[in-house]
């Protein structure tokens, strides 16, 4: 039963992503608290929150689009997960790895936020809309160096698939973060924006926007959004590991690699205040862009 195996594998992947993403979120909260000289919640606090939200009933809604918003978000994160290879040899986690390439992935990744933005829009809460505009603007900012990094990889190795790039690393034995360092730097800088930790937490900015797009959502809506966010973080981290750190042969290595790369935005964020939107955009069009161009030049020349 090929289809059944696939479905089971997909469910396993989703569960893995959910658990890992949630745990990472909890650990980050802990770390942040410690750096801020607080005690902080336990690392499993996110699971408790999720359970509480899952159990709650949503009392009100503002229309169909709001209901579809979380589903759109989930589509984006889950389908992206299906396309990102979790382990080098696939196995249970093969999913749809060979059915799409990086450019497809790039577009798929914006599907969710946009759907979510529509859901947020229907609530009529001005903070949601402001958060959305900020989020989209920031996306335009970090997308540029991120795409430049990816394009550099693509033209360097004449492939646009993740699996192709992973094969390249397997074959040569070096990680791409060493063989195309500028692309890696650009991608990591772009990642700061992608994870929306400080100083790029302008979307949800708790003090200004009352958590922005997710305000007006509670119960299962919020639970879905939260799980989606966790899965999405896991996907993005795995993608970085796949692209630049040679992928992972087993789950332990995967966890180590993802966690270490996760610390970059987290640690940078802990010690940073928040940018204004245009500052955030301009940030990405400064050094990250420069490294992106270097990466492309490097790829084009070598």
């Amino acid at each position: 039963m090929d289809l059944l195996t696939n479905i089971l594998g997909a469910i396993a992947t989703i569960i893995l992503a959910f658990v890992v993403g949630m745990s990472y979120g909890g650990i980050v909260r802990k770390i942040t608290a410690r750096v801020h000289n607080r005690l902080g919640p336990p690392w499993y606090q996110n699971f408790i929150d999720a359970y509480k939200l899952f159990g709650k009933t949503t009392a009100i809604h503002h229309g169909w689009m709001q209901i579809m918003g979380p589903a759109f978000l989930m589509v984006s994160s889950v389908v992206t997960l299906m396309f990102v290879p979790v382990l080098n040899n696939g196995g249970w986690f093969t999913n749809l790895n060979f059915k799409g390439d990086l450019i497809f992935l790039l577009y798929l990744m914006v599907f969710g936020p946009l759907g979510m933005a529509l859901g947020a829009g229907q609530t009529g809460n001005p903070n949601s809309a402001i958060g959305v505009t900020r989020g989209l603007s920031q996306m335009v900012g970090f997308e540029i160096p991120w795409v430049m990094a990816l394009v550099a990889l693509m033209i360097q190795f004449n492939t646009t698939t993740i699996t192709g790039l992973m094969d390249v690393q397997q074959m040569s034995g070096t990680w791409l973060m060493f063989s195309s360092p500028f692309a890696f730097i650009a991608a990591v800088l772009a990642m700061l924006g992608m994870f929306r930790y400080s100083p790029f937490d302008i979307v949800g900015a708790p003090t200004e926007l009352a958590s922005g797009p997710v305000s007006e959502n509670g119960g299962k809506f919020l639970f879905t959004m939260m799980s989606s966010g966790s899965i999405f973080s896991f996907v993005k981290l795995t993608l970085y590991v796949d692209l630049f750190m040679g992928g992972a042969d087993n789950l332990i290595i995967l966890l180590i690699k993802t966690f270490s790369i996760y610390m970059i935005p987290v640690l940078y964020g802990i010690v940073s205040p928040r940018y204004r939107t245009e500052q955030a955009i301009r940030f990405f069009w400064g050094w990250p862009l420069f490294f992106g161009i270097l990466a492309i030049l490097y790829a084009a020349i070598f």
């Binding site: 009933t57 949503t58 009392a59 009100i60 809604h61 503002h62 229309g63 689009m65 209901i67 979380p70 589903a71 989930m74 589509v75 889950v78 389908v79 749809l96 060979f98 059915k99 450019i103 497809f104 577009y107 798929l108 914006v110 599907f111 946009l114 529509l118 829009g121 229907q122 009529g124 809460n125 001005p126 903070n127 809309a129 402001i130 959305v132 505009t133 989209l136 603007s137 996306m139 335009v140 900012g141 997308e143 540029i144 795409v147 430049m148 394009v151 693509m154 033209i155 492939t159 646009t160 009352a210 305000s215 299962k220 879905t224 204004r276 939107t277 245009e278 955009i281 492309i296 790829a299």
Partner: protein, 616 residues
Amino acid sequence: MEIIYLIFILFLSGAIATFLLGKVSKRLRDIAFITTLVVPSVLFFTQINIGQTVDFSVLGIHLSWGITNFSYIFAYIVLGLGVLAGIYAVAAMKGKENLGFFFFNYILSIMAMMGILFSRDLISFFVFWEIMTWSSYLMVVFTGKDVQKVGIKYFIFSAIGAYAMLMAIVITYSLTGSMMISNLIFAFPDFEFGMQILIPVLLLIGFGVKSAMMPLHVWAVGSYSHSPMAYTAVFSGALSKMGIYGMIIVMAGLVSRIPEGYWFREVIAWMGAITAVGGTLWAVAQDDAKKMLAYSSVAQLGYIIIGIAIGTPLAMLASLFMAILHGMFKGTLFMAVGAIEKQTGTTNFTEVTGLIRKMPFTFLASLMSIIALAGIPPLGGFIGKWMLYESVIGSNHYLLIIVIFFSSTAAFLYCYKFLFGFFLGQEEKEWAHVKEAPAMMVVPMVILAIGTFIFGVFPGLILNPIDAGLQELGYAVTQGRYWEMSVLFNEWGDTVVLQPILYTILAVFVFFLAFVLTKNFKKTRYVSTKDISSSGEIPKEHENLTFSRGFFQPFLRSVEPLMRRKIDPYYNSFGRGMEAIFDFVRRIYTGNGQTYALYVVVFALLLLIFKDRLWG
């Protein structure tokens, strides 16, 4: 009677009949209008065979009409959109004045576009091109807004384009002695160097104007937003594609056959890229939906131009696919704006909000079109975007790809603005009376929107005729190499398999929708958008909390350096300067008899002085 003639006679007589019947009965007029669009379309798709031609001669010049595989692609756009937007127009324009005139021009421009596609020679091509221009011009000025500015600007630019083209045509005629397009293509590599440069440049100016390529785009925004929306759907969706049609012929037929073609391609590609970026940024800055979509059209045409300029098989597939898809989704969006304008009386984002529950079908059609416009899978827009990126990367245009990516990411901003501005946000009492548009307006929109969905999963349906057309332009077979019915390949063999993707997306979507809804929705009740927690306060009934002014201000502030330079003021001051010069010239005629007498004497003296020069 040749069926080709019959189609044109039907169009022409139908246009006149519609105009005249308008004086008798409105219902008859509407029926005549729809019939005039539908009957020739049916004839075209059932009776016309590819390769069948009719030949005749005018003023001793041999002319020929016939359809080719390549022009057939565009016939789908023209007739498909023409008929659907025509049905829409009947309902949308109901109750307006001068409708006979509107329908007359509508049919004429559809006829002219078909004529362009039928033309196998440059003279018919030009004749139909000009008919298309003036009939669309009459539509631009139809509403009577800013006629002297917007209308004249459109016509000046069209005339510049058309006359550049005409110059190329007469030069071609003097060089080859024939007006046939095929002869031009055949003889082109043997032309002398200067002509090999001049002719494509002139032709590209002509086509660049219609396809709104920067810096020839300045007419587009005003014209698109000033025409009645029912026509703008055709204007932006189909009419601008005629520029693309011509451009492809020039690029594939002429430019690719000379050694200097490389530079042409680079320049045009970058002009397309600038068009795309500029159009997108300005679209983000607009508060009026019509203008926003107009700029967006300019930007989308920029992508198409890039694909044409790159000219690899994949890029051509991408361009043509995008051309068709753009006709569909931009047509839908303009129609949606027209529906909103009809129901609310305004198209400004800062005025209208919260229509989603009042105009659900319009919203649905807009949503799907916007997703297609943004290029998000699984809708059709993605296919074109994907192929374009792959072709740009595959043909080593590294900086170009960044520019395109930037503009298509920035496009998300205005995409969201469109949906949010009209449909989402606070539902205000002011718009409580708004109803869904009539079925005749909604149905064409929904049909087109569903089309974008189908072509997003089975792009092969469109790529198949495109492939046939490309083979005619001299490209190799692309089926199997770059695409299957629902699989795409790039130059390196990487694939996107669309069907499993769609199924996964649907499965996940349905699952989580059900997840959110189960045991939940029944107990969940709908509350109005006034019932929100805005920083702990509940807004009062009269408080409008919709965020719509300065929507993307932070973003616009950060891209401000890019938008500081506008070409429009330069054109305007050039125009003013020319008028001043002309005014000065006018003063040569002083109105004084003595001066005139002096002119006679001076003229005589000049002739006497230069007589040796003049007669050698």
